[in-house]
């Protein structure tokens, strides 16, 4: 079976984000595979281990530099990659259409995996849009996945560790959550091997995309600054506890 994993090239989570002209970020920082997508790639590898003969294809929409992220996904176990190169910013409606068109042009998906959100735009919706375009069922924040024949049984985390179990027909789309697996970080030989794996590079204009009248347009960025002025609470333990309770009761009014 063909397993497609949609991955995104995002700024390193530890990076400081610098805003330029109130509308874009300074991209002179390190980019890597979106952390939630690491879970998606890892899960694809687990599915492939059980369903021998499967092929894992990492698909990414991004600038030319995003090939690095596809190489990371291949070092983690994807067999090949598709990079749709674009210098433009695409909203999640366009992104889903581009990814769908690229997947459709390439093969026949039985399973599509991606992270439950990207850590840059945090839109939390691309997997649902891909599912709607293909007319495939979708589950998000998946923390357990079992494929049995043409069915996928998933546990979705509804916060506080409460899970619902859903059954979907395959093909389906999975938004990987944090508890799904522990990403297997590549060894040096994996990285070397990934360099030899094929990456198909195409342009958005190579794909047939229907234009939409709806859009999400970024209007402005501003830094989220919070100036807190720390005050030290001193005394012995009992005194400190007393002061904390007083702050909670009188200042924060939460108890």
């Amino acid at each position: 079976m063909q397993i497609y994993v949609c991955v995104k090239h995002v700024p390193d989570s530890a990076a400081n984000i610098v805003i330029l002209d109130n509308i874009r970020i300074d991209e002179n920082l390190s980019f890597l595979l979106n952390p939630y997508d690491e879970h998606a790639v890892t899960e694809a590898v687990r599915v492939k281990e059980r369903l021998l003969g499967s092929e894992i294809i990492a698909v990414c929409l991004g600038k030319a530099d995003a090939e690095k992220t596809i190489r990371s996904a291949m070092a983690m176990g994807a067999d090949r990659g598709i990079l749709i190169v674009s210098d433009k910013h695409h909203d999640s409606m366009e992104t889903a259409k581009v990814l769908k068109a690229a997947i459709e042009q390439d093969g026949t998906p039985q399973l599509i995996l991606t992270g439950k959100e990207s850590i840059d735009a945090e839109g939390m919706q691309t997997m649902f849009r891909i599912g709607a375009l293909f007319d495939f069922p979708v589950a998000t924040n998946v923390v357990k996945l079992d494929i049995a024949g043409d069915r996928a049984v998933v546990d979705c985390d509804l916060s506080c560790g409460i899970c619902n179990t859903y059954e979907m027909t395959c093909p389906c789309v999975i938004g990987a959550g944090r508890g799904l697996n522990t990403p297997r970080y590549p060894t040096f030989p994996d990285v070397v091997k990934s360099k030899k794996k094929p990456v198909k590079i195409i342009a958005v204009s190579d794909l047939v995309i229907k234009a939409s009248t709806s859009a999400m347009t970024l209007v402005a960025y501003e830094p989220l600054l919070q100036k807190r002025v720390p005050k030290k609470i001193t005394g012995d333990c009992a005194k400190i506890a007393e002061k904390i309770v007083k702050i909670l009761r009188e200042e924060a009014k939460v108890i």
Binding site: E122, A241, L248
Partner: protein
């Protein structure tokens, strides 16, 4: 003509969650007509509360028994309702349930969606949300016939504005989701009623907790002040507590009134998940930990010495 806004009400054990009222308050802009969409509930009992916040129509949606906890079926029902009542705006909470419902709706009607908004300007259709893990605020303009906004719980203070609501019945009993079936629903009764995202007070433990057993002191204290216990990445990666308790870039993004960081150093990724908290109190043995210079109050001490004392005071008081 007034903009018709459909507000999806999230219930917890048949009751309206407090965070819905802030969302309704936010929707109450100029020239808007507010519809509350309530799925499988005794709407008669909820009418008074919804009316007091300015709702004028309550849409009572009934799904068949086997579709009740099915987000795909709920999304189909809401899409029917959008078409019947010609809503131009849909509001829902950006909670775990909302994250599984609002994108389904937006995807099926190809509508723009901004999740986790802490402000929405309905005059210009501009939404403010955080991006890059809480490091930036993005203003996003939504364009389309139907716009969907996921509202961050606790982001807007609720203000009453009495109205009189009518109940309209929508029979969704024939709605079935395609290729998507609920096998089992988690038992919410076993766990705390409030989730991290909606908690007013969070007590979060990090490396300084040293092990999973020590989290018991946080749970004890949290019970006394109606708080929810969270954790840093170190604590969940060490297996001390489950992943679902993680606050941070790759965990839950929270904005409680008070965030008490217990033995958490405060990495940039941790701040990404809690920097919008109202008040931050840090307890750490290291005065040089980065959280100590980015909080409202700090205590240089061992969490194990302080928290049990706080619990004791709350027991007595």
């Amino acid at each position: 003509m007034n903009k018709k806004i459909g507000i999806i009400i999230e219930l917890e054990k048949g009751k309206i969650k407090e965070s819905n009222f802030g969302m309704i308050t936010l929707a109450r802009a100029k020239d808007t007509e507010l519809f509350a969409i309530v799925i499988n509930a005794d709407t008669g009992a909820l009418k008074e509360d919804l009316s007091s916040f300015g709702i004028t129509k309550i849409i009572d949606v009934s799904l068949s028994c086997d579709q009740q906890n099915n987000p795909a079926a709920m999304a189909s029902a809401i899409i029917h309702i959008i078409r019947v009542y010609h809503f131009s705006i849909i509001f829902g909470l950006s909670t775990a349930k909302g994250k599984d419902l609002l994108p389904r709706i937006a995807a099926l009607v190809e509508a723009p969606l901004v999740m986790d908004c802490f402000h929405v300007d309905l005059d210009k259709n501009l939404a403010k949300t955080s991006q890059y893990s809480g490091k930036t605020i993005a203003t996003i303009k939504a364009t389309g016939d139907i716009l969907v906004f996921g509202i961050r719980p606790n982001a807007v203070e609720s203000v009453k504005e009495p109205a009189l609501a009518d109940i309209l019945v929508f029979d969704g009993s024939t709605i079935v989701s395609k290729g998507f079936r609920v096998l089992k629903t988690g038992d919410a009764d076993e766990k705390s009623d409030i989730s991290l995202a909606e908690a007013e007070v969070i007590l979060a433990g990090g490396r300084g907790m040293k092990n999973g057993e020590n989290f018991a002191i946080l749970f004890d204290c949290a019970k006394k002040m109606n708080a929810v216990v969270g954790a840093s990445r170190v604590a969940v990666d060490s297996g001390w507590v489950p992943y679902s308790m993680q606050v941070g870039q790759t965990g839950e993004k929270v904005s409680p009134k008070v965030y008490i960081a217990c033995g958490i150093s405060g990495s940039i990724q941790h701040f990404a998940g809690m920097k919008t908290s109202g008040m931050v109190i840090a307890i750490n043995t290291e005065e040089t930990a980065s959280i100590m210079s980015n909080c409202d109050y700090f205590v240089v001490a061992d969490v194990m010495d302080i928290i049990p004392e706080v619990t004791k005071l709350l027991k007595n008081g």
